[in-house]
Symmetry: C2
């Protein structure tokens, strides 16, 4: 049974795409047959790996998913690219209940043969993210160590509990990941301890430091793992991959 | 005629809320009767000023807007709080064309008596942001000096051009604002010059530096202007206010 990770948080700019891309890459390095699904109309995960967005969203056309899946430079890692055209996204957003079933059917059918799937979500709790949550087995929530990030988390948890209630036994909390951590700042340490007090052991031990190499890597169409293999960002994502692999 | 600024960018975490809150505050300090409208279901602008979200979105109930508007600690500045409950937002999201007119009617009726209005938008190009653009006279686009931020800008410009086409003579480009600028990084200088080459003089001269005081201020329910009056972040937002006031 594939592990399907939904990387989600409605707060913007917290490191969802960076985490989805780098975790998918390290899972593939560890020998897991991995699929990265870009569900964000911004298509950052797609361009972060050096690909162009699809003309029509693969999840909306009736062809089997297999035909839209691309091979990447990393063996064991394949990509389902995102799509910018709005009517596709709007189509996904409105009347999603039929779409949600289609998305789920497509995802379920397309994910056979993979050990792990990572779904990068847009910064919202709208229909796209809810459809992804409904198809996933674990939800990963990156958060920054800042005030606004804490606020949004409780709202997110409500939506997740809702989905767990409607489909018992499928979705679980994969974990909360602290990103862009800069130990020089008092606020960071404050939020770190508040989150661990409040959420306990669903917070990953691994934290991702703020590292300029991470910012630079997407402009080279690569994850930080291959762009700057000896950077602190790379070490942290490899450590996170080990922690998530052992979490099973 | 009030200047109605829509602060928008579908890329998340670029400083939309920080800019809307601090510009609204400095406009009020400069003697402009100012309204800050929180249109983001995350309600960050509302909590950033120390208020709690409304139970039902003021723009969805039929009472006149006046009754939901709150006074803030800053004379001349009032706040229309945001709302977290999803069915309100979903209501706003679906079938918005009747909503859009309602939103526009409400906004137009409620904005009488103000010199300036700032609308904080969620990180998406969905119906809420499009409704806000349709009610505005100027659009302000904060962007970070990072690769993904550049990518989303062209998509944003398409949507804005679309709105300008449907309602000629109302919405103009207010400007592109570079935020979280850290001159130590090469990437920052690269993106800065690329944006200025590409977009010319719609890019503000003022840039906002990365400043920890800005991160800390929302947890005190205040904008950085009043939380840390001598900080670099404060100086930059005051400078930006002067530039926008003279831009008229
Ligand atoms: N640990 C880090 N150190 C430094 N920069 C980072 C780090 N993680 C992410 N970034 C940068 O911060 C920005 C936001 O990250 P990213 O795009 O992954 O967030 P996101 O949550 O996917 O955003 P959105 O909400 O728009 O989808 C990007 O430009 C990215 O390169
Ligand atoms: N110049 C700055 N220096 C340091 N931190 C900043 C700066 N501007 C904003 N921040 C911090 O970065 C985070 C993102 O900013 P903000 O919430 O204003 O962005 P946003 O575009 O409104 O996000 P969203 O897309 O979720 O609405 C916040 O925690 C904020 O405190
Ligand atoms: Mg993203
Ligand atoms: Mg915001």
């Amino acid at each position: 049974m594939a592990r399907i990770f939904c990387v989600a948080n409605q707060k913007g700019g917290v490191g969802k795409t960076t985490t989805a891309v780098n975790l998918a890459w390290t899972f593939a390095m560890a020998g897991q047959r991995t699929l990265l699904v870009d569900l964000d109309p911004q298509c950052n995960a797609t361009s972060g790996l050096g690909f162009s967005p699809a003309a029509r969203h693969p999840l909306l056309i009736d062809d089997p998913l297999r035909e839209s899946i691309q091979n990447t430079q990393q063996p064991n890692l394949q990509l389902l690219p995102g799509c910018r055209t709005f009517q596709d996204v709007d189509q996904l957003e409105k009347g999603i209940s039929t779409r949600r079933t289609l998305l789920k059917q497509h995802l379920d059918a397309g994910m056979g043969g993979f050990d792990a799937v990572f779904i990068d979500c847009p910064p919202s709790l709208g229909e796209l993210t809810q459809a992804a949550l409904a198809s996933s087995t674990e939800v990963l929530m990156p958060i920054q160590c800042e005030y606004y990030a804490m606020e949004g988390l409780t709202q997110m948890i409500h939506v997740i509990r809702d989905i767990m209630h409607h489909q018992p036994g499928k979705l679980t909390f994969g974990g909360i990941l602290l990103t862009m951590v800069d130990p020089r700042f008092e606020l960071t340490a404050e939020v770190d301890s508040e989150v661990r007090d409040f959420f306990g052991d669903i917070v990953f031990d691994t934290v991702i430091p703020r590292d300029i190499a991470i910012c630079e890597s997407p402009s080279h169409g690569q994850p930080v793992i291959s762009y700057a293999p000896r950077s602190r960002g790379t070490r942290a994502y490899i450590e996170l991959c080990m922690e998530v692999l052992n979490h099973d």
